[in-house]
Symmetry: C2
Subunit: 458 residues, 2 copies
């Protein structure tokens, strides 16, 4: 029997009730999507329902459609193909689904006439085949949201931005396999093995701890300066730092997102330790700043300021740290944003573009570095964010003429050359904003240099 | 630097030359496809190029378009985004790609005017966003192939059906991590661990042996009677058989597809051994029959006949084995086909429907069991197939009124009840047809009961 993992009914009732209140009678339709063929239809990628559907429906079901209208919630389901039980085993009955998800279940072929001619709002899913069905059902293009759709998006964002108890429980659940994975990966590290082998240590621990899988394509690399590296072919060498940005997805579909960096030898060199401690100080300052009412761009600038001060202290940069940050010179080494929303998506609700990440009236900066900030809202209790500053020596940046000119003689390249055994460091945790400050959901994963060295062992 | 793994230039030249000869001047356009967002665009599934593109282009490149026209082969590539080197590291240069793949490389924005107004043939890719671009470029719907497209399909099928030396080398390469995975999984098996843990043993061995990943969603289950089981939550118990249908994808994108079944305890029970040996005998007979000139449906019927004879000998079925097979009674226990084509796809070229699997003039049977046969061609040297008979006790079949009536008193349910510790057995190898017979590409993976028991250990 395929297990039906579901969100508690009370949480679903509350989410749907608040959605109904925001929409005042306008019906909203959420599609779960369909499996996507990898090279042919019968060889699909592992199915995962659309996050908006998951949030309100409460379980990951294929080709399922949730219609929320005032107090009524109806789930439209295709009948299983005649030979489904042969290939896929027994499925939960419609009655069991109706009971678990607190919905009325109706056959999918009734959906078209139920929504026909009515002004139903929706959010387009990623899967284009399902999106085409959405457009056909609603008899309109979903390329741009209608005014009513915008109201739906606002309502969804207001709900998903502030995690309820059920969502927080899922975020905590995702942290458990993530911790096990990072510990297993640290313990498996030794010179001579390929990055593949360390990645495999994560896989094993994740599954063993009940994760649904990876929340995103894992980064496991001795080339931490490649920010989104997705190959695992390098062989670990004694003097390398290994960067692992790897997080599990909970059974309910929520993400964990954690980066740790550790020395392959089990011991940081003095230069590695200096920069590691600098990034750690930056991260700790940013976490301290991540409290209710704080504007996220300011949290980013706190992290940047610590990095700039540290690089001046190490002699890599020259000048006034405040001015270096204002000019964006720190971004030569810390080019990305300090973090992003976290929830059912790793970059939560990024399918809505900056609609979710940026507060009304705020837009992206066009300064190099700051332009990559995915979030600029004021923090509030219940929001979850990642906090992840870094230090990287990216050739494409350090050799860029425009950025060379920006730095000018404020960058001491001779001094920088002393730190050549540091290609990339990022330290990332998941932070839940609480009424009185915050809680680091991933605090159990080794992070201090001594803790890291002990976990790698040797 | 992202590595460019590529097919040998001589193989590419030969494939393209034979394609050109078949198309007599008609240009053919192959799209690689684009990464597909999982829940938002920046969180894609691991990219894999379309198999047809891979076959003729020789490397897995994103949003790349190959135009083959007579002697000329042009690869149209989008320029990398300005900050690509920051996020993804340095890429192979256009010159390096042109040299490795023996193509002229041109900017993607020249493609539209190159194909405009010309009668270009193509094959639609799975990725619908790219398919929409294909339709726009060629200014026609790809819902049904045109007459020229049909000619292209015939040419592709003729080529990909009979593997060249480069393809055979890739099939052999895919078998290496697959063997390591099955051995690691057998050695990791013990009562009390979840299926997850055994699946993880495959992952680790695959990556360590240089596989690109899994060729398909792995099946690792103590419920072998669920033919396409894709959850891993059951805990292994002492008396269980574990079924693992797991194959690696080679670095060049070719598939391996292997099923083994082993006892969790390390020892087959007497009933498990009887049925295991029966399925093994069926598989061995089908392999012996898989020689040039043999019709695949006959190979299937050879396997079915051995199963029927064995079930009569064990007292589970009654009657004349030939008649039981003709009536499809064996299919109550062996409901699927004996195998399928294997190549760049696990079910090779299944994106073309039965066009690839069924010889002209042959169509699917509507008899239960035989209707699932994915292949009905005459074998020829260079073809690769899976050979995978099985025995299952599927409740949905054994309780089906129509199938109960078909079996009537030819099924001895009391006798069958004695074999209740066998839920599902399948034994699957990959077979390359050779001029003088065949070669089992996956022969190194333990299969005989004694070998299996030794590999599980205890």
């Amino acid at each position: 029997m395929k297990e039906l993992r579901s969100t508690p009914r009370a949480a679903l009732a509350s989410r749907r009730g608040r959605l109904a209140a925001a929409l005042v009678g306008v019906p909203a339709l959420f599609a779960s999507g369909r499996p996507i063929g990898r090279n042919y239809p019968a060889n699909p990628y592992p199915f995962r329902a659309s996050s908006h559907f998951l949030y309100f429906a409460g379980a990951s079901l294929e080709d399922a459609w949730l219609l929320c209208e005032g107090e009524e919630t109806t789930l439209f389901l295709a009948p299983p193909p005649p030979d489904d039980a042969l290939w896929h085993g027994p499925s939960p009955s419609r009655e069991a689904i109706a009971e678990a998800l607190a919905v009325e279940v109706r056959p999918l072929d009734e959906l078209a006439r139920t929504v026909a001619g009515r002004n139903v709002t929706t959010v387009p899913v990623q899967d284009l085949a399902t999106r085409a069905t959405q457009e056909k059902l609603l008899a309109r293009s979903l390329e741009h949201p209608s005014e009513r759709d915008e109201r739906l998006l606002d309502a969804i964002i207001a709900l998903r931005l502030v995690h309820d108890a059920a969502a927080i429980a899922e975020l905590r659940a995702a942290a458990v396999p993530t911790e096990a994975g990072h510990r297993a990966a640290m313990a498996a590290t030794r010179a001579g093995v390929p990055e593949h082998a360390i990645r495999a240590a994560f896989d094993g621990a994740f599954f063993a701890q009940g994760a649904a899988g990876h929340a995103y394509s894992p980064i496991v690399t001795v080339h931490g300066e490649v920010l989104h590296s997705h190959s695992y072919d390098n062989v670990l060498a004694e003097g390398d730092l290994l960067l692992a940005d790897v997080g599990a997805e909970s059974a309910g579909g929520f993400a964990c997102d954690v980066t740790r960096v550790w020395p392959v030898s089990g011991r940081f060199s003095s230069t590695q330790r200096e920069l590691y401690e600098l990034v750690l100080a930056s991260q700790e300052a940013a976490i301290v700043a991540s409290v209710p009412g704080a504007r996220w761009r300011d949290v980013h600038l706190v992290a940047a300021r610590v990095i700039a001060e540290g690089l001046v202290a190490l002699g890599i940069l020259r000048g006034d740290p405040a001015e270096l940050v204002a000019d964006g010179v720190h971004a030569l080494f810390f080019p990305h944003g300090v973090g992003h929303l976290l929830g059912l998506d790793v970059h939560d609700m990024e399918d809505l573009g900056d609609h979710a990440g940026y507060a009304p009236g705020r837009t992206r900066s066009d300064q190099f570095g700051l332009s990559y900030l995915r979030l600029d809202r004021d923090l509030a209790p219940g929001m979850a964010v990642t906090v992840e500053p870094g230090f990287y020596q990216v050739p494409a940046i350090l050799e860029d003429p425009r950025l060379r000119a920006l730095a000018g003689d404020r960058l001491d390249r001779d001094r920088l050359a002393r730190f050549s055994d540091v290609r990339g460091i990022r330290i990332e945790d998941d932070v839940l904003v609480t009424p009185r400050g915050n809680e680091v959901l991933t605090a159990a994963i080794p992070k201090g240099p001594a803790e890291i060295e002990a976990a790698v062992g040797r």
